[in-house]
């Protein structure tokens, strides 16, 4: 985990309302694990005072600008414009300075079983799955990505997964791309095909809740990546808690999303009146 004062290498709109930002970040790739995140803030002090949390989409390296200099390591985020902070980010240019804290949090746990590895992404929830897919494929696993979005505009970067060798299945609520319907429908169908599977999911809360139900009915191990409003990202403010398994008013069990998460085994969480499904989150859930 490092506190970078660095610059943007590029910042492009990749789909209406969705942006991709590449940030110079020496040493980042080696430190980053799938499912971790960063806290980001344009250096130009702005009305959005707090840093914003973003998943790590991918890392990479560019050749040096001049011979003899070291190569330029970078990390990339994919972000959706939902409010003031992300809107301001989309106005930034290459060369603009940003403050980046990360990698932060606990990422996905990779179990080296031979069970089928199924990744479920909803909209921008696809972000943390790319490093995960890379890591799984590195270890020789076959990876399936079920990618859901409201419309075709919400389906991002699928070809990048395909280039890794991931089998991808796209569904959209309105049928404008791939299969029409919810990604959970695809998940149910897939799960019935594999005798043994593991699911990794990230997306809006209602989707995660549905995925959890499906997996727990079938006893399929599930890891989910959550969102929560964060101030510090490092476990100090206690602002980002979610309800853990067995939570009650008498015996509260709050977990810090930033430090104990953002990735949790489904069993760690209270799915009853579960994690924050309302309040401050953009329409349609937290991602």
């Amino acid at each position: 985990m490092k506190n970078y004062q660095t610059i943007i290498l590029s910042n492009l709109e990749i789909s209406p309302g969705y942006w991709r930002m590449r940030i110079l970040a020496p040493g980042f790739a080696a430190a980053a694990a799938p499912g971790q995140f960063v806290m980001l803030r344009p250096e130009l002090a702005l009305p959005t005072m707090l840093r914003r949390p973003f998943g790590i989409f991918r890392t990479g390296c560019l050749p040096p600008e001049c011979a003899g200099l070291p190569p330029r390591e970078y990390m990339e985020i994919l972000y959706k414009i939902v409010g003031q902070g992300t809107r301001i980010m989309s106005d930034l240019h290459a060369g603009d300075r940003v403050e980046l804290l990360g990698p932060l949090g606990r990422g996905f746990t990779i179990n080296d079983t031979s069970c089928a590895k199924i990744l479920v992404g909803g909209g921008i929830g696809l972000v943390p799955l790319f490093l995960l897919a890379e890591a799984l494929i590195d270890k020789g696993h076959q990876v399936r990505l079920l990618m859901g979005g409201r419309t075709r505009d919400d389906v991002l970067a699928v070809t990048e997964f395909e280039r890794l060798g991931v089998e991808t299945y796209v569904s959209t609520d309105d049928g404008s791309l791939g299969e029409e319907g919810l990604v959970t429908k695809v998940l149910e169908r897939k799960l019935s095909k594999y005798p043994c599977a593991e699911v990794y999911a990230c997306g809006p809360m209602p989707m995660l809740a549905a995925v959890e139900r499906i997996c727990s009915e079938r006893n399929v191990p599930l890891q989910v990546s959550l969102e929560s409003h964060m101030a510090c990202g490092v476990g100090a403010c206690l602002g980002c808690v979610v309800k853990g398994a067995g939570h009650s008013d008498q015996r509260p069990n709050y977990l810090c999303t930033c430090k104990e998460g953002p990735v949790f085994a489904a069993g760690q969480l209270d799915w009853g009146r579960a994690v924050n499904t309302e309040g401050g989150c953009p329409e349609g859930g937290c991602r």
Partner: protein, 307 residues
């Protein structure tokens, strides 16, 4: 140009601090959380998260919301409880040569007294910071810190149970903060820290719900700085004991505003979230200011307000 470095050392309630900069309670965990970013040995002091008699789970979420240049929080004083603090967190402080201020609170007068008692013989705790911004559950929720009598009472009781230097942290949600300041001074406080958060509220216009589950929360951050500077100025005029300034400090320049009106030290809260290294930059900035101004000692700045 090889003049010797200016002195940043200050004395608060008999405690020598290497510099006047320390975290504000609740924004720096127990210190360890930030050790990756901040060399804790460089801070004037460490101020712990607020401690209570029993562990507290805190409020439901969402607990925080950003407002313009500020944030609302209703963490609900989640903490491990005083006993676990002593057992699990204190050992870490032994290797540091930095004073530790234990911030604490109670929901009844008795609880305040009992926490103070349990901290009395803990060698790692240098001083107490008494948070009186809590409602007294027994007295119908009247906030200790908004009533001079209740404030004095809790200070006297704590004083009885604990000999360590006692810093009392004031609430800004009052008509006249000097009344409370004088009351706690008379009751035996060795120093005052101010301010705690202003009570605020924000609404999600789509859901029509408050943005934080607790409805209202404490407003902190640069938005409140002018109110904090004014109150510190008032309290400095009103009492003889030293004052620690708190509220919206983001930069060295902000910290200097508090020192100029007479604060002996400052606490940095919300800024830690925005830049984990904020306190180090503030310390360096204060030193640079002294050099630029040709001053040798931070005490030449403290109280230098020219009216």
């Amino acid at each position: 140009m090889n003049a010797k470095r200016p002195s940043l050392a200050v004395n608060v309630a008999g405690i020598e601090l290497r510099n006047p900069v320390m975290p504000a309670s609740g924004t720096f965990g127990y210190g360890e959380e930030y050790s990756a970013f901040v060399d804790l040995k460089k801070l004037g002091a460490i101020v712990t998260k607020g401690l209570s008699l029993n562990p507290k789970a805190g409020n439901p979420m969402p607990r925080i919301a950003e407002t313009t240049s500020g944030m609302l929080n209703a963490i609900g004083l989640q903490n491990v409880g005083v006993d676990t603090f002593v057992e699990k967190k204190c050992p870490y402080y032994r290797v540091l040569d930095t004073p530790v201020f234990a911030n604490f609170f109670g929901n009844t007068l008795e609880e305040y007294g009992e926490v103070a008692r349990r901290l009395a013989d803990v060698p790692e705790v240098t001083a107490l910071e008494l948070n009186i911004s809590c409602p007294n559950v027994k007295q119908g929720g009247i906030v200790f810190g908004t009533d001079p009598k209740a404030a004095a009472e809790v200070v006297s009781l704590v004083r009885k149970h604990n000999d360590k230097p006692l810093i009392v942290k004031l609430s800004p949600n009052v008509t006249d903060i000097t009344v409370i300041a004088r009351a706690v001074e008379e009751a035996g406080a060795d120093a005052i820290s101010c301010i705690n958060t202003l009570t605020g509220m924000a609404i999600d216009i789509r859901t029509r719900k408050p943005k934080i589950a607790n409805r209202t929360g404490g407003l902190s951050g640069p938005a409140i700085r002018p109110v904090a500077v004014r109150m510190v100025h008032q309290v400095v005029q009103a009492v003889k004991i030293p004052v620690i300034g708190i509220g919206g400090i983001m930069t060295a320049s902000d910290a200097l505003e508090f020192l100029i009106v007479g604060a002996r030290a400052v606490q940095v809260g919300t800024a830690n979230f925005i830049d984990p290294a904020a306190m180090l930059a503030i310390i360096d900035g204060i030193e640079a200011f002294l050099v630029e101004e040709g001053l040798e000692d931070i005490n030449q700045v403290i109280g230098s307000l020219s009216l």
